[in-house]
């Protein structure tokens, strides 16, 4: 089992894409042990320039800050299985949880 997965979700206020992404991620993480990850949600519209300078250009953007290497996923996280694979959470959660999340998304 890997160390704690650190996630950061960059959103632009309550825009439709941002909202969808937030709901999708919440659903994906529903079956994951809370101790296995930490999630920070950033509303970039409060300081958009800072986000740009950090390399976040579009929203929504989900970044796996840890463990290395950094993984960046842009979009509404529609492909839930792929997202879980990329974040390295699928193994931690188990196939059943991932299967359960597949039909989600807009």
């Amino acid at each position: 089992m890997a160390g704690v997965v650190v996630l950061r979700l960059y959103l632009a206020g309550e825009g439709p894409n941002s909202t969808t992404a937030r709901l999708n991620l919440e659903r994906l993480l529903a079956g994951v042990d809370h101790a296995g990850y930490s999630l920070e949600v950033v509303d970039c519209l409060r300081d958009p320039l800072r986000a740009l300078e950090q390399g976040v250009l579009v929203t929504p953007t989900l970044v796996r800050v840890e463990p290395e290497p950094v993984v960046t996923i842009i979009g509404t996280l529609r492909d839930s299985r792929g997202v879980m694979d990329m974040l390295g959470l699928a193994r931690a959660v188990g196939a059943a949880a991932a299967e359960g999340a597949r039909h989600d998304g807009p």
Partner: protein, 583 residues
Amino acid sequence: MTRATTDTEGAGSQEGAGETVRKAATGIPGIDAITRGGFPEARTTLILGGPGAGKTVLALESMVNAARLNHEPGIFVAFEESSRQIIANAATFGWDLPSLEREKLFFLDARVSPMTIQSGDFDITLMLAGLEVKAREMGARRIVLDGLDVLLALLDDPVRERQEVYRLHDWLQKSGLTAVITGKATDVDRHGAERYAFMQFMVDAVILLHHRMVDRVSLRGLRVAKYRGTGFDEGEFPMVISPTGIQVATFGPAILGHDVSTERVSTGIPRLDNMLDGGYYRGSSVLVSGAPGVAKTTLAASFARATCAQGERMLFVSFDEAATQLVRNLQSVGIDLAPFVSAGLLRIHAVRSESRSAEDHLIELQRIIREFEPRGLVLDPISALGKTGGEIAAVHSSLRLLDYARALGITALSTSLMSQGANVEATSMEISTIADTWIHLAYSIHGGERNRTLTVVKSRGMRHSNQVRELILSDAGVTLADVFTAGGEVLVGTARWEYERSVRERAERERLEREHRRRVAEQNVARLEAQIAGLRAELEAQRSEMEVVGAHELNVAERRQDGQEALRRLRFGANDAPRTPGS
């Protein structure tokens, strides 16, 4: 889309009359000329082109110029290259971005990492919000979005892409920034099928950049496909990315209505000046055609020397012959250009024709002409332009260059390879139609030798001799000799010389004959005079004789009288003495 476009475009043809669109200069002379002022201010311009067509350089240069020359701050959003890369590239053009960056320019590195995974839709709301903050903070007037397509392609959905472009467009309109969006389009002429089709309707101006390889030479071209509310020069203009930035070849400053000069400039050959009724017209175009080695360069150099001798600047473009070689070769025919070179009146621009495309040459030469401001121009040979990059490009470039010179009042002499009977090159053909004066040099082969002849094929607007002259090169320079016609044939070289000699001989013979006859007559006169003198002497002698004889007879008669007297006295005595016999 507003139809007012067409109306104002019509008015635009009258040099800006009735133009409503305010322009933001690009600071790139050719582009500002074609667009009559630059990009539409506070509007969006779309620059489309294939890879390496120069989109980024064009967008960046216009922004750098605005910052440098007009102190307009600008934002550059780089979707394709890292901003560090762009700054490094800019340094090769001599643009010091780091110093500008501190106050006037802001580069946003907007590359999407190749490690990024896309899953579902996203939008650029955040980016626009960030740019808005930055624009306000720095008082930006310009923005470049370079390679937006790279980001949009990630959406992988034409409808979503269009949505984001509309979002961007709305934001740009509200921002009041003069915007440039660049985008890749592999075949810019068939852009209709591409993602920019709808974008072209949306933006106010569309500039297409072409980049193609012809004969292994890269050719770039720029065309304004659309410019709402203003007139612009249509057609594709040659473009190069030079060491100092983008250069676009245009027509001269004023395409039409250039002053027609009646002033003459010397051809450098007095007898040719006479043939042309005073020389070339200032600002006219002269074509000197002929086979290789027929002294085209020499004729051009005579003109160059004559121009410099008047204290006027002359640009001598020598294709494929080095300047030193040119000067040395001309010295052998008595034309010394070296003093003019050192005096700064003559600039010899020697260049290998194959090194660039015709259009590159054109742009380079236009730049030199702008800098050097010559009154005379020699292109030797202009046909070298056709060596690479295709005939069409060569013809266009040549015509454009000559047009440019004409508009600036520069007298341009082009030499061109053209042999009688052989295939006439397209370049020569085209140039000969626009040339005001066309001089053809040829070899005349007669009696087993070649000699050079000169014919004025045409000379617009001036009286000119239609006679063929022989061109004679010697270490004393170039001279023209009369040619003789005998039996319908022009006599040159030895034939001319022989003819001249026979004429001379006949004259000499006649002279000798006259001399002889004169001497004979003199002798006769002398002889007759001598005879006359002899006769006269004889006559004198006879006269003398006559006198002598006469005198003797008188004496005899006197003596006889004396004797009779004495006898009478003796016969009659003293008494009868006073009586005279006969009384």
